[in-house]
């Protein structure tokens, strides 16, 4: 036994097992919608696209799902025209809403004082070229501050309009570093800014969000709530319990122009009924996670300050020959850490293009599982796993009546599952039913291989003891030839499942392939080693 422990493969096995246990204990396994409940969308694009474009579609879809708050969404592109989106929501009405949001073309607008500076249609190109300034760079080493920059090209008409509209929108504030410093007005980036709806906000929420941060969650910089409302062209009302008579008159006359109303969750039922009586279609916009209501309900995506350069601060009038229009503009900002900077950069990029997906969606197929059913599935899968292992033990014992050989099979078999789960934990794989089927198959393959090992080793045992022990090594080799061939055929049949747009099934192939690799490289050699020791020590007795 002591000799056994010194074998490198044995030590390796123990170490890997420990690592697997540590990962399973700390990081744990993540479960797909089959078990945790939720919805999987299989999205098919109208035609195949490049991997860059597919990635962009992926990010846009991710963002659109994110609008619904934290749904633990996972969006993965597969093949050249498929996207698989999974998220934790199974209520059919909510799922429909998410589907609609993914589908609908959003409308991007950069707004200054309720006027559109430029919209999604005006943006010709977004430069992803570092030579045009795209990217992020370290500007403050001590505080790890990065400046990110996104250059983009506007159409000539739009850039003319833009230059005129933001002319002199900065105010000098003094001198610093020998340069004139300015305080500039902010532009507001919206996707689907309300245009045909009136907005009703309850006074409690209104006072809560009196100061709106310049980023969706809390920030150090704030803008007054009214300034944000000023960016809209539609009327808004702050409601204190009930509509007062003046509000009622105004809202009634608004109905000539607007037919819909967005209301905050705190608006009372009676007010909603009043609105419906007038004829309004009322939509309650819930608060989404930590995001301010004013952000999510108005479709605000980002707040960006104008830079003095583009505001032509050093030119006296628009008619001056020195007045410049810029077709290439940049949006830039600062963030701590390169990852954060990259994230902000990607976010803005997606906002700018979010008006439209680069390629239309052909169809969305859906699978929803309620969490209650998912929990049942998980329980059942566990039972199957346990019973499968026990059955194997019973069958092997009946066949060989050799407990010493059968027990290690169970041990290495169980360790194989543990290692497999460990790998799945390390790669953050989401366990689904297909993966469980793969794990069960792995148990089966493992048992078959161990039987081959035992039978090869026991073969010709009745001949002379010495000859038998000499050939144990050769027999192990025979057994491994068979196992390698079997594993290779299994791999041959599973590999094609990848990359063919069968996204939902990769779990099956992934677990089988990882399981086969672990088996052939680690657990089978360990078992062969143990079995050889047991047989040779038994024969020499």
């Amino acid at each position: 036994m002591r000799k056994l422990i010194k074998k490198p493969i044995f030590i390796f096995w123990i170490i890997l097992l420990l690592i697997a246990i540590i990962f399973l204990a700390t990081k744990g396994l993540s479960f797909g919608v089959d078990f945790s409940g939720g919805t999987a969308f299989q999205i098919v694009l109208e035609h195949p696209v490049s991997s860059d474009q597919l990635n962009q579609v992926k990010q846009i879809i991710e963002k659109r799902i994110d609008k619904f708050g934290s749904k633990d969404a996972k969006v993965t592109p597969s093949g050249s025209q498929y996207i698989l989106a999974q998220f934790a929501e199974s209520d059919s009405e909510e799922v429909t809403k998410i589907k609609d949001t993914i589908l609908r073309q959003g409308n991007f607008e950069a707004v200054l004082n309720s006027e559109v500076l430029f919209s999604g249609n005006d943006i010709k190109t977004i430069f992803k070229d570092p030579s045009k300034g795209y990217g992020s760079r370290l500007i403050d080493r001590t505080n790890n501050v990065y400046q990110w920059t996104l250059p983009f090209l506007l159409s000539p008409e739009a850039s003319q309009r833009f230059a005129e509209m933001i002319f002199h929108k900065c105010v000098p504030t003094g001198y610093g570093d020998g340069q004139q410093e300015y305080d500039c007005e902010k532009t507001y980036f919206f996707i689907d800014r309300p245009k045909d709806q009136i907005i009703l906000i309850d006074s409690t929420l209104y006072f809560e969000e009196k100061k709106v941060p310049t980023t969706p969650e809390l920030a150090s910089d704030f803008i007054p709530i009214e300034e944000l409302f000023d960016q809209l062209t539609v009327p808004h009302y702050v409601i204190d319990q009930n509509l007062d008579s003046e509000q009622l008159v105004n809202i009634t006359s608004d109905f000539n122009t607007y037919k819909k109303a967005i209301v905050s969750p705190g608006i009372s039922e009676s007010v909603k009924e009043q609105l419906e009586e007038i004829g309004y279609v009322v939509t309650v916009k819930e608060k989404e996670g930590d995001t301010f209501w004013m952000w999510s309900s108005l479709g605000l995506e980002s707040v960006i300050s104008i830079t003095p350069g583009v505001a032509n601060m050093d030119v006296p009038t628009i008619d001056s020959p020195r007045f410049e229009t810029f077709t290439q503009l940049t949006i830039s900002g600062q963030a701590t850490g390169s990852e954060e900077a990259k994230k902000r950069l990607d976010d803005i990029d997606i906002i700018l293009v979010s008006g439209s997906l680069p390629v239309p969606i052909e169809s969305i197929s859906t699978e929803s599982i309620s969490p209650y059913l998912g929990r049942d599935f998980l329980k059942t899968s566990l039972w199957i796993g346990i019973f499968a292992l026990l059955t194997v033990a019973v069958v092997l014992f009946i066949r060989y009546k050799y407990l010493k050989l059968s027990l290690p099979i169970l041990l290495t078999g169980a360790s194989e599952i543990l290692l497999l789960l460990g790998v799945l934990s390390v790669i953050s794989f989401r366990l689904d039913l297909a993966a469980v089927a793969g794990i069960l198959a792995t148990i089966g393959v493992g048992m078959d291989d161990n039987i081959i090992i035992i039978d090869e080793l026991l073969r010709g045992r009745k001949k002379g003891v010495k000859e038998h022990n000499d050939s144990l090594m050769k027999k192990t080799k025979n057994a491994f030839f068979i196992m390698f061939a079997a594993a290779a055929t299994l791999a041959a049949t599973m590999i094609p499942i990848f990359g063919l747009g069968l996204g939902k099934l990769t779990g099956f192939a992934v677990t089988i392939l990882i399981g086969a690799a672990i088996g052939i490289l680690i657990t089978r050699p360990v078992y062969a080693l143990i079995a050889r020791k047991i047989i040779s020590s038994d024969s020499s007795d």
Binding site: V44, G79, Y82, S90, S92, T96, D100, Q105, P360, I361, S363, I364, S365, T366, E367, S368, I369, S370, Y372, L373, D376, F377, T380, S381, I384, A388, T391, L396, R399, L433, A437, L440, A441, V445, M447, I451, D455, R459, G460, N478, F481, I482, A485, A486, A488, T489, L490, A491, A492, T493, M494, I495, P496, I497, L500, G501, L502, L505, F508, A509
Partner: protein, 358 residues
Amino acid sequence: MKFFKKNYSKLMYIPLVLGIIALFLAFVYPGLEKGIDLKGGNQINIHFDDQKDFSLIEPTLKEKFNLAEVHISETKSINQYGLLIELSLQEDIELVKEQRSKLDYTANLETVKEQVNTTIVQPLEEKGFITEDDYLDITLAKNIPDLKAGVNELIIIANNNFTNQVTNIIKGQLDLTDDSKIQIREVAPTLGKDFVRSSAKAGIIAFALLVAVILLFFREIIPSGLIILAAVFDVIFALAGMAIFNISLSLTTIPALLMLVGYSVDTDILLTARVLKDKTEGPIDSANTSIKTGLTMTITTVSTVIVMLLISYFSQLLVVFEISVILLCGLVGDVISTWTFNAPALIRYAERKNKNRH
């Protein structure tokens, strides 16, 4: 007791006869069916604790929607009831889709809008699949690409609403609460077509790889060919099993069939390796020792598969149940193909080879 004796060749009639029967079952009668994964449609799977009356679901759905097929099956286990409802594609929406492919997007915007309005928007609105809100994008479209995207959107939304209406009718009929155990699937026919294509591709690549791997390991044409034939036989047997038990070709069953190939050639590889490589025994003796090991392997696997089958049946875990049935049928086929086809043919091949050498 020895399985292979002098007259081993006669065994080969068994797979011949069974193979023909299996082919008949799989492809003639009852034949295989494509599941909703491959042809598109809706599937709703519900579990509940008490028996419920579902007799009105089918007539209600058929009356309300233009559906070619509504298939409802009830499953019972010790403590649970389940319903599996499968709907074919909604004919009205399919008709609209056909109209969509006829649209002439080269005409001017207003003409196309008019066309879209009469052939797509109106029929969908009449059937109650969309409301004014849903086709706002089409009314407001400023150019042809926007209009085209709007039309695509609208059809998906109509499909969506159809699924929701169906779900609500079923939930209403069965009196289901929000915490019910329900699984809803909706597969677009285009996705189904893609799946068929991908699966066929996967099958062909898998077969080519399998041939390559087997040839690489054994480097002899006839024994390799026998292994591959045996694998094909297993798949045919599994297909026959699917036809008998009414399991359709789907995204779960196709990979299961692929896995079955990898799974079942184990015993053929074992047999071939022993018969060809072990020079201490004659081919018949080698085959006889192999069958012991091979049957132990198969019996062990079959017993785990039976466990899977029973538990998944009683807990109505459809995916695992279907995989188990396929594996079980395939493994039965494997016993036949390995020991009554591959083994006798291989023994004859090895004996002839030995004779030529002497």
